[in-house]
């Protein structure tokens, strides 16, 4: 039996990304090094078309491939986040690849494949399909993390990521298998039915626990966050930009589906796990970030802290909480992408200038770059006018709706701790004299465009959130 044509529409973004990924890979040997711009253009077209192709599934909402995938507003929203992230990463990394003399073709192909995998993850209704998406995205990520092959640290980071990541995905798969054993199905909706129709045994709980371990690793939630700073530091900065946004958004999406579609009946059980993990994650992330002197590590710990904030919205266990997760993911992705891609640019050849002190006097040398970076930091810190503030606002609101007062207070205090290290970077940029007379690095047009988009997006979400939040609310109701 051949699936209907509509199903092809529903996976149009993934198809486009795969086709362009293959195209880039096949073409690469035939493109002379001098003309690597061609590869970049094709990859960019692929990413743009992949993002634009979201319109097709949006017009054809529904189940696809006998219910293996489910295209709903939720999946559309996360497709947009993931697709947008990829587009920005590809746009922002051309300059980096050129400078570091890295093979562009492989890079773009892997980024496109990873994105396709993430797309599968956020639509999956069936755990083995979800696992396939997870693996596609993970394996591409492992290779991307090691992309600066001649830099030992990059290799170290990749090995760490690969070993721990394989364990995590293995845990996830084991959880799926146990779930199948205990409940007789791997489909989310049927898992829910099986869980509510009879008292679930220990195996079902264990299955959930193992799946959560796997996904908590992916989103860098404590106590599975150890890999994050090392991997982000070793990986090329544009890859860190991707890792901290795309796969994270996809893994959060999958976790949302598992917890809210398949296991809502077990809410009382997983609530405390999420509560403790959220509290731990934000504390570990923020307090460790206080001690960092390397910009990439600082951003890595900050992304751990943000995973903790997002988990607070999970703990709220209400519709607003889901919408808040989605809104926060979009807000966070904009700020993190902008920050990492800007750091990739400012780091200079071989990422030599990655210490925070290297940014001294940036406000004087490169006022535009410094101003953009400040916007990203303020958004991560959660000050009004930026998207980060409303993201936090919605999470607070969702958690208070569920009477999680203490978790909210903990998050509030954590964001004050966060203020210290974000502001420290601004202090260095604007209030310290530069160490040496480093000439300002000319910014490429691509990167300028990335900065424009991310800053504009951050301010747009911060001032006029109605559109995005409205869609996120719709998405939150659509998953069930």
């Amino acid at each position: 039996m051949f699936p209907p044509l509509q199903d092809a529409y529903r996976i149009a973004p993934e198809l486009v990304l795969f086709v362009f990924g293959l195209l880039v890979m096949l073409m690469d040997p035939f493109v002379p090094r001098a003309h690597r711009g061609i590869t970049a253009t094709i990859a960019l077209t692929g990413a743009a078309l992949g993002a634009a192709a979201i319109a097709l599934p949006r017009a054809n909402l529904g189940l696809a491939f006998n219910g293996l995938l489910r295209i709903d507003e939720f999946s559309i929203f996360l497709h947009a986040v993931v697709g947008g992230a990829t587009l920005l990463v590809i746009l922002g990394s051309a300059e980096y690849l050129e400078r570091e003399n890295l093979p562009a073709g492989e890079f773009y192909a892997l980024v496109l494949f990873a994105t396709a995998g993430m797309g599968v993850m956020v639509s999956a209704q069936e755990m083995v399909t979800a696992f396939i998406g997870l693996e596609i995205s993970s394996i591409s990520s492992y290779i991307l993390a090691s992309f600066r092959r001649d830099v030992p640290r990059s290799n170290e980071s990749a090995i760490k990521y690969f070993l721990l990541g394989s364990f995590a995905t293995a845990f996830f798969l084991y959880g799926v298998a146990l779930g199948y054993n205990a409940l007789g199905t791997t489909r989310l909706a049927q898992l829910h039915v099986a869980l509510t129709s009879s008292t679930p045994g220990v195996l079902a709980t264990l299955a959930l626990a193992l799946m959560m371990v796997g996904l908590c690793f992916k989103v860098a939630a404590a106590p599975f966050q150890i890999w994050t700073p090392d991997v982000y530091e070793g990986a090329p900065a544009p890859v860190a930009a991707l890792l901290s946004t795309g796969p994270k958004a996809a893994a959060f999406g999958l976790l949302l589906r598992i917890l809210f579609v398949a296991f809502p009946s077990q809410g009382e059980r997983w609530l405390w796990v999420v509560w403790i993990s959220a509290a731990l994650t934000m504390c570990v992330g923020n307090f460790a970030a206080l001690l960092q002197s390397n910009m990439k590590r600082l951003l890595a710990y900050s992304s751990i802290a943000h995973a903790g904030y997002i988990l607070v919205a999970f703990a709220a266990r209400n519709e607003l909480g889901i919408a808040a997760v989605l809104f926060y993911l979009a807000a966070y992705a904009l700020a993190k992408l902008g920050a990492f891609l800007l750091v990739a640019h400012l780091g200079g050849a071989g990422e030599r200038h990655m210490e925070i002190d290297d940014f001294a006097g940036l406000g004087e040398r490169q006022p535009v770059a410094a101003a953009c970076f400040s916007v990203f930091l303020l958004s991560l810190l959660g000050l009004p006018v930026t998207a980060g503030f409303l993201g936090k606002f919605y999470i607070f609101k969702a958690a208070l709706d569920s009477k999680l007062l203490w978790l909210v207070v903990l998050m509030a205090l954590n964001s004050v701790v966060g203020a210290y290290y974000y502001l420290r970077v601004i202090v260095v940029m604007y209030m310290r004299e530069p160490k040496d007379d480093a000439p300002p690095l000319p910014m490429s047009l691509d990167l300028g465009l990335v900065l424009l988009l991310t800053v504009a997006g951050t301010l747009f979400l911060g001032l006029l959130p109605n559109l995005v939040m409205g869609y996120a609310t719709q998405a939150a109701t659509s998953i069930r």
């Binding site: 000050l383 606002f393 609101k397 205090l413 964001s415 209030m431």
Partner: protein, 524 residues
């Protein structure tokens, strides 16, 4: 309600000015200064239109504007002024151009950014005073931190980074808990209106009518969260430790705005939110808060007395003077509250003037040490005269503005708490001691340091600044009814809003001990 745009214009005109500034080249220092000043003056003149059509007898919000902004949760763009906020807005728009004039020559470095930050700050502060939506209020409250952070951090003195980070962290710590409280209040309001509301007048009315169930503990916690944020801002002893650092390290314009306007945001918040929304908690805590205020008055004065740094002295005098304001607010008498509002304005003008005076000395000698001066009356006679007016205004000499505010506060407080008033009035004496003593050491006596003999007297620009302020001090001292009659109605309304209806009959039948429990059951 008629929708005018006056408050929107007053709030966002400075922001529009910054956009115009951004179009100028960085090197055009002179034009940047001129454009900024023009914006500031225009802003002041436009804000004067708020007086026109302001009905002094009407205690409610006027010039109201209401537009939907964020749909879910419903956050409205709701602006309005009453007798309390009206003059605080005017104070802001009045001090900002003076602060700009004062920075005309002392800021040579990153001029454009400086004036941009100053104007953004003005928008933030005016926004805080005119917001009638809790979420919008918080929005402005936090936004204002960013320009202040840069003003102190970039153009401040030696220990500026320490001071600015301390300032921001203190403020954020207080305000983030206030955000939680605001959301809590919003959620509780959902029980009375569909979907809940952030609208201050609506929440106030619902709370007063007893339609939003708020248990005793809940009220105490909410009051605590709001009060902490405001007390840090005021700052109330013992939360004042950020203030001497921030004030001393900030550039003159920063100190003027910080002392003149930003501290008032704290006392304004207490008056606007803590009292009308949580009257029971306010009454319960009032004795302790009054005690802290009195400690602040005396402690601030004593510490000011032993300072060798003139700017630090003025900074500590703020701790002392703001103690009076807090005392007046928490005495809950119509006269003392009115006096507190008036004293906010007075303190803005007189401490603003003192910081400007100190700034002028710093421009000449690049030091704040009192010991570095002495006998300045000889080389700078006009300066000496105007400095004296500022001191006298600050210490509360009759005929000048400071007297009216302090007198009203002490008068109102005396009726309720004679002992508190008696203790606080020692602060008046102490302020005379530290201000006049420092004045004497700086201005009188022989010129001990040779450099000081050649100091130029204040030039036209500086004269404009100080004469304007002196005129306002005199005016506010003799024509105080012009101000107080506009303040009176609204400050009385605040006290009326603290009245709560008697418990409903169903609850009244419960034994007294069970009552809190019964209310606790439906708290959020």
């Amino acid at each position: 309600m008629p929708n005018t745009y006056l408050l929107t214009i007053v709030t966002f005109l400075p922001l529009a000015g910054t956009l115009a500034l951004l179009l100028l080249r960085r090197e055009d220092h002179e034009w940047i200064r001129r454009l900024a000043l023009v914006t500031g003056v225009a802003e002041f003149l436009i804000s004067l239109f708020l007086l026109r059509g302001f009905d002094p007898a009407n205690p409610f919000y006027q010039h109201e504007e209401m537009r939907p902004w964020i749909s879910s949760p419903p956050i409205n763009y709701h602006l309005g002024v009453d007798g309390i906020s009206l003059f605080l807005v005017l104070l802001t728009t009045f001090l900002t151009p003076l602060a700009m004039l004062a920075s005309w020559k002392s800021i040579e470095h990153r001029v454009k950014e400086f004036f941009v930050m100053l104007l953004v700050l003005e928008t933030g502060v005016v926004g805080v005073f005119v917001s009638l939506d809790l979420a919008l209020f918080f929005f402005f409250w936090e936004v204002m931190l960013i320009p202040m952070y840069f003003l102190i951090g970039i153009w401040g003195h030696e220990r500026r980074i320490y001071a600015t980070v301390k300032f921001v962290l203190y403020t954020m710590f207080g305000s983030i808990l206030m955000l939680v409280a605001i959301l809590w209040l919003f959620n509780s309001s959902g029980k009375a209106t569909t979907g809940g509301t952030f609208d201050l007048p609506v929440i106030q009315a619902l709370l007063q009518a007893g339609k939003i169930p708020l248990g005793h503990t809940a009220e105490l916690l909410l009051f605590g969260a709001f009060f902490l944020a405001f007390a840090i801002k005021v700052p109330l002893f013992p939360l004042h430790t950020w203030l001497p650092d921030a004030h001393t390290e900030a550039p003159t314009a920063g100190s003027v705005i910080l002392a003149g306007v930003l501290l008032k945001m704290g006392t304004y918040g207490m008056l606007r939110f803590c009292l009308p929304l949580f009257p029971n908690a306010a009454r319960e805590f009032a004795p302790y808060i009054e005690a802290l205020a009195i400690i602040g008055i005396i402690y601030g004065a004593l510490v000011a007395m032993v300072q060798t740094d003139l700017k630090r002295l003025v900074a500590y005098s703020s701790v002392s003077h703001l103690g009076f304001v807090v005392l007046g607010i928490f005495a809950f008498s119509p006269i003392s509250v009115q006096g507190a509002v008036y004293q906010m304005l007075n303190h803005g003008v007189s401490t603003g003037a003192l910081f400007l005076v100190v700034g002028m000395l710093y421009d000449r000698r690049h030091t704040h040490e009192i010991g570095e001066f002495g006998g300045l009356a000889t080389p700078m006679p006009i300066f000496a005269a105007l400095y004296l007016v500022a001191c006298l205004s600050s210490l509360g000499l009759p005929m000048l503005n400071g007297f009216v505010g302090e007198f009203l506060i002490l008068l109102g407080t005396f009726g309720a708490h004679p002992r508190a008033a008696a203790l606080a009035s020692t602060g008046v004496i102490l302020s005379a001691v530290y201000l006049l003593w420092s004045y004497q050491r700086v201005i009188y006596g022989p010129v001990t340091i040779e450099k000081n003999r050649l100091l130029p007297d204040i030039d036209l620009r500086e004269r404009v600044i100080l004469f304007t302020l002196a005129a306002v001090m005199l005016w506010m001292g003799v024509a105080s009814p012009m101000f107080t009659r506009r303040i009176a109605a609204s400050s009385e309304l605040v006290l009326n809003q603290m009245q709560r209806p008697e418990p409903q009959p169903v609850e009244a039948t419960l034994p007294p001990a069970a009552q809190p429990l019964a209310m606790k059951a439906d708290q959020p």
